[in-house]
């Protein structure tokens, strides 16, 4: 059995004028979580739909669980679970009815389907709401039911398309717990997300997609090293003090880095920024700036935002520069 449970090569898909996938290669190792990160419209959902047999690509090859997605979609469907971007539970059915229906469509006997439904509802803390119509559920409950629905068939590979969009942070962490448990039970999970921290919390490896192309495939740490950790940004009141500011901030820079005047896209004009190892750098930077007589009008400590990740990753590649829509 191959170590790769998802493998795609050169996937292309065009919708009218939009090249949604422009030669996407993907590889996911068995028993791991692959995070697919990218802005809206990057092609994440299209890629998932191709892998989940919902959409035929114009070009390219894809296999899931060692089976050719294009040639034997029915066999792939017996081995996958899909939770789409919108909670696609049936609102007029109860939680139990939703899950039993999926079980029946997976060829379980009705008694087995009922047993499995009860098991999953219990596990997802929905047992009390099992006989209520899904339209009475809260957003978080619907998401959980939707995720449960994709697990009815004990899938080998689980596709989660933005599973936590619209959930509050506590509910999001609940979902993360579910994903981790699935992996410990032997499933492999491919999840798309717009949240760097989500990919960071869950993924063994991260693929960054932009404009239908894979622009990075790395571990979360590798990605962060490329993008940089915390950044301290300081704007002196007097632009002539920029060299002094540079000198002061160089002293608090993270090992192997140095301060620089901000010029990149999204920069704060006239500011100086420096990668720092942690927030302790503040304790050194503030008195040092005072001693150097630098008057400060803007001072901040920033995590690399998703925006900065993409700026950092797309820099130097021929991909067209565009305003990223981050919602």
């Amino acid at each position: 059995m191959s170590d790769l449970v998802v493998r795609a090569e050169g996937l292309r898909k065009r919708f009218g004028k939009t090249q949604a996938l422009d030669g996407v290669d993907l590889a996911m190792r068995r028993g791991t979580v692959l995070g697919v990160l990218g802005p809206n419209g990057a092609g994440k959902t299209t890629a998932v739909r191709v892998l989940a047999t919902l959409l035929r690509p114009d070009e390219g090859y894809a296999e899931v669980a060692g089976i050719d997605v294009l040639k034997q979609p029915a066999r792939v469907r017996r081995r996958i679970g899909l939770t789409g971007q919108y909670a696609s539970v049936d609102e007029d059915l109860t939680g139990t009815q939703n899950l039993v229906l999926i079980g029946q469509l997976l060829d379980l006997r009705t008694s087995d389907a009922k047993k499995r439904a009860a098991e999953l509802l219990e596990w997802f803390d929905l047992a009390e709401a099992a006989n209520r119509m899904a339209k009475t559920y809260s957003g978080g409950m619907r998401r959980r039911l939707d995720l449960a629905a994709s697990l009815v068939g004990h899938p080998e590979v689980i596709f989660l398309d933005e599973p936590t969009t619209g959930l509050d942070p506590a509910k999001r962490e609940d979902m993360w717990g579910v994903v981790r448990t699935q992996v410990t039970q032997g499933s492999s999970v491919l999840l798309t997300t717009q949240y760097l921290e989500e990919a960071d919390a869950l993924a063994d490896e991260i693929v960054v997609i932009n404009h239908g192309k894979v622009i990075a495939h790395d571990t979360p740490d590798g990605l962060k090293r490329r993008v940089g950790g915390l950044t301290l940004s300081v704007r002196p009141a007097d632009p002539a003090k920029v060299p002094d500011t540079l000198r002061v901030l160089d002293a608090v820079a993270a090992p192997g880095t140095s301060a620089s005047a901000e010029t990149a896209a999204g920069a704060r004009p006239g500011a100086v920024s420096v990668p720092v190892a942690g927030d302790l750098a503040l304790d050194e930077a503030v008195p040092a700036l005072r001693r150097a007589g630098v008057e400060v009008v803007d001072f901040g400590l920033h995590l690399p935002s998703l925006d900065e990740v993409f700026h950092a990753l797309t820099e130097g590649t021929p991909a067209p520069k565009k305003e990223y829509e981050l919602v």
Partner: protein, 276 residues
Amino acid sequence: MTTLDVPTRGGFTGDIDRPRGGAPAALMRHSLALARRSLIKTVRTPEALIDVTVQPVIFLLLFTYLFGGAIGAGDRGAYLQFLLPGLLAQSLALGGIALGQNLNADIEKGVFDRFRSLPVARSAPLIGAVSADVVRYLTVCVFMLGFGTLMGFRVETGFVPAVAAVALSIGFGLCFCWISVWVGMLVRTPGAVQGVMFLLIFPLSFGSNVFVQTDTLPGWLQAFVHVNPITPLVSTIRGLLVGGPVAHSLTITLAWMAGLLVVFVPLALRAYARRA
């Protein structure tokens, strides 16, 4: 969340790649499961049955008491005997619109994505939804005949022909609704399904023998009435409920039903496969 010890393949037996009982049995089982889903939705939202309950009755009242005196030369009772079988046909055609609208909404909501990611035949969700519509067409028949009886309508033939009329009505409804399914796959919103279907059904139902005797119409309109599939259906239901020859019109009706299936089932399935 509690962690439960979940057996890895509980309930899944035999060859994972082979549907239990073979493909035809699986298609039937899956379609039934999906039909049950549609029925549950119907029961939960009874207001969605207005188009097969209140609406046909309003037409019946409107045409009997408002136009009936004028059209039937003063004899409303005789006009009701003439009108009811025709209105039944119109109500069946209109009753199929909701199906296309519901399927259109399901696709927009992503419910069908889940079905399509499961190992069921592509046709199962459509066949399931159409099968569940039996209940709606039966409802049309019960309301029309029940309310009609209160207004003075009488079956003049007998129990068996009346049951045959209901069976034919339901059968026709199940064939005609594939047009609505097809339209539901093509257009973007449920509202558009209704618009397109009204545009199709009103010429068919008014340009027929539903409301008036064909020989009162100008020649060109008579020509249209004679090729209209609603006409032989109305003639047959009329024959079965109030008497008259049915053999010829029944043959033509059955041919139309077969024709509707042959044309619109493949069109609907193809449009469904392309959608989304």
